[in-house]
Subunit: 227 residues, 2 copies
């Protein structure tokens, strides 16, 4: 039997995949970026077929990878991870550079970036796997450490959006979930859980200007989900 | 211009990909294992075409992923990472379990394992990208942390073998390499560098029973490579 908790032992980084141009650019948070070959330096990135950035990659045949560091702000993770570029311009107000491919690179909270030219698009069911050859790569900041997906989960208390390759439905994990008598709240924007049984401060005692550690939603967006 | 140091900011874990059966089983160290889709849970693993384990995956259409922890021993990393199953039986003397697919799972120094049934094999030039659907996944040890590729590099002083997707030839990194006047030694087995300019103890002062931190080769296998 598959124990879905096992999937949290697979190590990933945290990136913003960017695509498009100065007129229509977008990006989304991804943890599935990886090198496939050394000669040529070739990378793969998995992207949900519903993803707006995916349609921009298809159109322009390029994508950028901005490598996020551990101090990346909740606002960046919330906007690029849980909102759609169809509803808002995610790049507005950001420190953005347009690379040699034209793709937007998010300089805020990044330690490095890559740019790739698409050489293949592989159908993986719910997702496209974009294969790209490296055309540029630069370091931006050598003082911060790359954020790992485990860090995002454990320290930032982050979740995977529903369309991520590594999303795990709650019911798949519930079999071994520790339960308690105290109230459990869920963020109605991103699904983040605040469980009074596992926190030092009760949700009710959090200040009114407290915001969701994952997506930045206000406290009033949390709904109690147990009795 | 591509700065190859950038590639070290991409985050990976450290795994043993296993394949074969009780009669002919093998495994190799990989850092490129990742989830592609959530429904179904589908994974990808990159494997050099010359790799013996790759031929076993092709034959049996299954592979296992043993997730290594931070305290994984040099001996495991050296044998599975830098030796070929064509020359020795890597599984001999190991704590091995044969999974529901028949693939060998290396229990020594692992915190979890996955088993996948191959659904596609994609040609990536020097490497095959094996796509597999998850058929089993179990946690083995919840006290140790997964080893990241960065940890292997920085703490274990590990290198990528020449046939790894993330191998970077030394001449690609040399442009920004810090140099010094002291002797630099290279392991003739795995290519690990011991640079007196960057170490607290001179190579010459290391005890005679010191071994290569990457592959376990004896001190006498190190050769001075500068003047």
């Amino acid at each position: 039997m598959i124990d879905y908790h096992t999937l949290f032992t697979i190590t990933y980084g945290m990136y913003i995949i960017g695509a498009g141009d100065r007129d229509h650019g977008n990006g989304f948070i991804s943890n599935t970026v990886f090198q496939l070959t050394s000669e040529p330096p070739r990378f793969a990135a998995s992207c949900n077929k519903d993803n707006y950035t995916g349609s921009l990659i298809e159109k322009h045949q390029h994508f950028s990878v901005s490598v996020l560091h551990q101090k990346a702000q909740t606002d960046i993770l919330g906007t690029f991870g849980f909102k759609s570029g169809r509803d808002l311009n995610k790049l507005e107000g950001r420190n953005v550079k347009y690379g040699i491919s034209g793709s937007p690179i998010i300089l805020d909270d990044s330690i490095a970036y890559l740019e790739c030219q698409v050489v293949e698009k592989i159908d993986m069911g719910t997702h496209w796997l974009f294969i790209g050859d490296l055309i540029d790569a630069q370091l931006l900041n050598s003082t911060e450490e790359a954020m790992s997906y485990a860090y995002y989960h454990q320290i930032k208390k982050g979740k995977a959006p529903k369309n991520a390759p590594t999303f795990i439905a709650k019911e798949k994990l519930v079999q071994t979930k520790e339960t308690g008598d105290k109230a459990i709240y869920e963020c109605s924007v991103c699904g983040d859980i605040y469980d009074n049984n596992q926190e030092d401060i009760l949700f009710e005692d959090l200040p009114e200007d407290w915001t969701c550690p994952v997506c930045g939603a206000e406290k009033e967006n949390f709904i109690k989900i147990n009795n």
